[in-house]
């Protein structure tokens, strides 16, 4: 019976009957079971590893699976579990819990590729700050997840290690760039996973895979030791099965880091505290520009329906306006390639990695675009202009948040698309980021939560956006929505693999 446990009525969040596989548990459920000795961390870790062996041939969510190290660490976690008091246990919020790390996160002694051939053999000499924090919390690193190479992409197809497939329908993309991390959670290959979000790379795959994904405020979580894409936008977040789990991980990862000057010395709240707060009286803005032409009809209806559900809980919805929205994508595709061309200049194959000929098409395109927009004579017309537009976009949101607590919007203008559909048309691919990129330019947090499925049985989510450092409010709303919809039929679905 290894890997299956009868949880009885202990866990009221259990979405299905009494029998649940260990790898399907949430962090909260796994913690409860580990603490009550219903199963061990070794059993939990083996259940995840077995699931990876069973389905990852189809999904390709992992670039590297660290089976040996994971089992060794799980044994160690079990020993610790047997020898500590409850108070001590609370110092290890992820003790014995298997997680996946996007292969952009440097892991000491474990190959880190950024899903690019350039770093095919690169073995970091140190851990990213977030990796150290997760390890100190007791997490078991089960492997490194696939993504668009260098996190450049919206579909997961730019990986040099092959595309990740959407577990809900393997003919469709899982969304990118953190494709493997989202797919791994959707297919229950690990309990939680990490991602990076520079223009939607966490929210888009969360949206396409029916999982919860958080892009925190810029600077809330340290970027140190995470392979840089566009340094003024990169945000470090994660994927979970519930909003509660999401808050729990931010409690671990958030905070000042002397190695990343963009992390403010700002108080860090206990993010799980706001979960139980009522949404009664909160004001939700619906940005009219995000619901105009180009948005899929079904997504529009479902997102507005979700807002109505929150209204039924006492929140108020009002129309908001973000007038410069139409310029955001052009602004983004100047600033991002510019910063990429600078960040990828270091890969010369001398100190580590392979020669520059090993860059894939998308990295080459972005390096050249950025080199061009930053080159002599063009800087003012492109980069400077984009940085000015960025100010206008920020002012749009500042003004909107004077009237509302949060904004709710779609994550993508369309449902997941089929593999191969947009690979030869970069501009078309870029347009799928239309609702997510502005959030990075403005630096505010965004939480993506599932809201249901399309008629074609593909997942849909919405994003909840708030002012800088308002993650607590996002969790409060996300959790309220999750709670009130927990008995709906779609919540009980699992991908068939």
């Amino acid at each position: 019976m290894l890997g299956i446990i009868h949880l009885g009525g202990v866990l009221d969040r259990t979405p299905r009957k009494n029998v649940m596989k260990l790898n399907e548990l949430t962090i909260t459920q796994a913690r409860e079971g580990l603490q009550q000795k219903k199963f061990s961390s070794v059993e939990l870790t083996k259940a995840c590893l077995d699931r990876i062996k069973q389905v990852d041939g189809k999904i390709n969510a992992f670039v590297t699976v660290t089976e040996e190290e994971a089992l060794e660490h799980a044994k160690h976690a079990d020993k610790l579990l047997n020898n500590i008091t409850i108070e001590q246990y609370n110092n290890y919020p992820l003790l014995g819990i298997p997680i996946g790390l996007k292969d952009m996160y440097m892991t000491k002694g474990i190959r880190t590729t950024a899903a690019s051939k350039v770093l095919e053999n690169y073995i970091p000499q140190y851990d990213a700050t977030v990796v150290t924090k997760l390890k100190n919390a007791g997490a078991i690193i089960i492997g490194k997840t696939n993504c668009d190479a260098w996190a450049h992409g919206s579909s997961g197809e730019n990986s040099d290690f092959g595309p990740t497939k959407n577990p809900w329908n393997i003919e469709y993309v899982p969304g990118g760039s953190s494709s493997g991390s989202a797919a791994a959670i959707a297919a229950d290959m690990c309990i939680a996973s990490t991602g990076t979000d520079t223009g939607g790379s966490i929210r888009l795959p969360a949206n396409f895979c029916n999982v919860v994904g958080l892009k925190p405020t810029y600077g809330r979580v340290s970027r140190y030791g995470i392979i840089a894409m566009a340094s003024s936008l990169d945000s470090i977040g994660h994927f979970t099965k519930t909003v509660e789990d999401c808050a729990l991980i931010l409690n671990i990862t958030a905070g000042n880091d002397s190695c990343d000057a963009t992390t403010p010395k700002k108080n860090k709240p206990d993010y799980t505290e706001s979960l139980k707060k009522s949404v009664n009286g909160l004001k939700i803005g619906i940005p009219k520009e995000y619901f105009e032409i180009g948005l899929d009809k079904e997504i529009k209806e479902k997102t507005l329906k979700a807002a109505q559900i929150l209204e039924s809980l006492g929140a108020k919805t009002v129309e908001a306006s973000l007038p410069h929205t139409e310029y955001a994508l052009a602004c983004y595709y100047i600033i991002v390639p510019s910063e990429i061309s600078s960040n990828l200049a270091r890969y010369d194959g001398i100190r580590y990695g392979m020669e520059r000929t090993n860059f894939g098409d998308e990295a080459k395109r972005r390096i050249m675009l950025g080199t061009y927009t930053l080159s002599a004579g063009y800087y003012d017309a492109y980069y400077k202009k984009a940085m000015q537009i960025r100010t206008l976009l920020k002012q749009d949101f500042d003004r909107a948040f004077e009237k509302v607590d949060v904004i709710i919007s779609p994550v993508s203008p369309t449902p997941p698309w089929k593999l191969g559909e947009k690979v030869n048309d970069p501009l078309k691919m870029y347009l799928s980021d239309i609702y997510t990129i502005t959030i990075n330019l403005v630096g505010i947090p965004g939480l993506c939560v599932p809201i249901g499925f399309t008629k074609n049985e593909l997942p849909l989510g919405m994003q909840i956006l708030g002012p800088h450092f308002s993650e607590e409010t996002l969790f409060q709303i996300g959790n309220a929505f999750e709670e009130v919809t927990k008995n709906e039929g779609w919540r009980k679905k699992k991908p068939v693999l």
Partner: protein, 93 residues
């Protein structure tokens, strides 16, 4: 807007095949054409934003702290000599 792919690739130290040059020229030109859109906006009186959360001049004490050992730092290098990185010559003799 036409982009001189050969010149830009040289600046970026990216060796490209002729086929790649042709493909990228078309793709990059279409992206550049799209971003021209920004010209519609009058930004003559708008400041630039490079840092969104308002932090400025974040400094720390200049204190030495343990860092990677020489051996560790060289671990991923393909070519080394006497505990140093070996690089291609950039100047003629």
């Amino acid at each position: 807007m036409k982009i001189n792919v050969s010149h830009v690739a040289k600046l970026a130290n990216l060796p490209l095949t002729d086929e790649e040059k042709k493909k990228f020229e078309n793709q990059l030109s279409s992206v550049l054409k799209y971003v021209e859109k920004l010209r519609e906006v009058d930004t003559s009186k708008v400041e630039e934003t490079s840092q969104v959360t308002g932090l400025e001049n974040v400094l720390r004490e200049d204190q030495a702290a343990p860092s990677l050992s020489q051996g560790d730092a060289l671990k991923n290098a393909k070519s080394k000599h006497n505990g140093l990185f070996k690089v291609p010559a950039i100047l003629d003799e």
